[in-house]
Symmetry: C2
Subunit: 201 residues, 2 copies
Amino acid sequence: MGRRNEHTREELKEISLQAAEQLVAANGLGGLSARKVVACIGYTVGSLYMVFRNLDDLIIQMNERTLDRLYEALERALAHRPPPSAAIRVLAQAYLEFALTQTNRWLALYEHRMPDDQVMPDSFSEKVSRIFGLVQQHLALLCPQRSSNDVELAARALWSGIHGVCMLSLDRKLESIGGHPMHEVAGSLLDNYLAGFVSSA
Amino acid sequence: MGRRNEHTREELKEISLQAAEQLVAANGLGGLSARKVVACIGYTVGSLYMVFRNLDDLIIQMNERTLDRLYEALERALAHRPPPSAAIRVLAQAYLEFALTQTNRWLALYEHRMPDDQVMPDSFSEKVSRIFGLVQQHLALLCPQRSSNDVELAARALWSGIHGVCMLSLDRKLESIGGHPMHEVAGSLLDNYLAGFVSSA
DNA sequence: ACCTGAACACCGTTCAAGT
DNA sequence: ACCTGAACACCGTTCAAGT
């Protein structure tokens, strides 16, 4: 056969990633397969390997797009320029909102595991760092007197904490442990941590 | 053929779970398959379905055993009866230690996802609650004047936080964001949260 | 009753062959 | 050059057939 030149390589990549995102949004990362992706876009399975090294490569590129959307959501939340005292809360709220509304896409960021011998591409790590930098930056504004090492550590602790709240709240396996809504748990974490952090200057 | 009565049903279950634990410890949950399990124990694949409903059932039972070991590790850490002010830290430390030394087994607790329409068995939820209750109980001893609702919320926030620190520290994808060792991040979270919590009585 | 082994419907990946 | 489709080595699950 050969549907030659019906799509450029770039277009083929784009529609593959779009199909992958739809499949993940609908059925989770477990509902994604190379054969399902090509079935969605009307190609046969071999074609996928023209534009992706393998399925891991496709998933990583999909996840990078998710990281981009997450970053945009966080930036959008900061668009009203809240004072430093509110910015951290605004960021956390936006993160929770993203995880809650895009649950399967957000979960795919963490469910996907690399083969033990391989490492994430730099482009992925940079996108993670960029998001993380947002927290660090606003935490530094809140506590200008603290060392950059203190701020780094606090940003990491806070962000890990908010992430953990999301994870345990969205995992149906573990929601059993009390009926506190996610936002309330995150609020408690933030309020008490920040109270402790600013008072220990 | 038929290796009849060479093992009782209970023995077959036990050696299957042991083989599964070895496979997961060595290669992660992704390295586990029904066919590999039976290859380890010298049976053919059909036999597995005599003692497990399906592979999810086997994984859940394996994870329940991991939860039992985690509970034992936490109890062992409390065996020296630390004062309430130290008990929470002792528990967090033991949790980190478990995640660090049994990484693949600990990860399997969270990597495994149920089919969307199914729910975890009660025995699993109870084991989760039992572990969680340990935190809640020692937090209540630390702050006897707080309402049980306050303590529940704080226990959940703290535990989620510690969990998030583990997750992001052990995930090679995300370790990029700063070279702070896991224990230090967890210490920061605990110290500042508890400082905020006890002072907001 | 216990266990096998073939069968079925999937999966990721490769690659000779066709246009 | 682009794309197919068959092939290979896997996978979970079922079940008739053997002992």
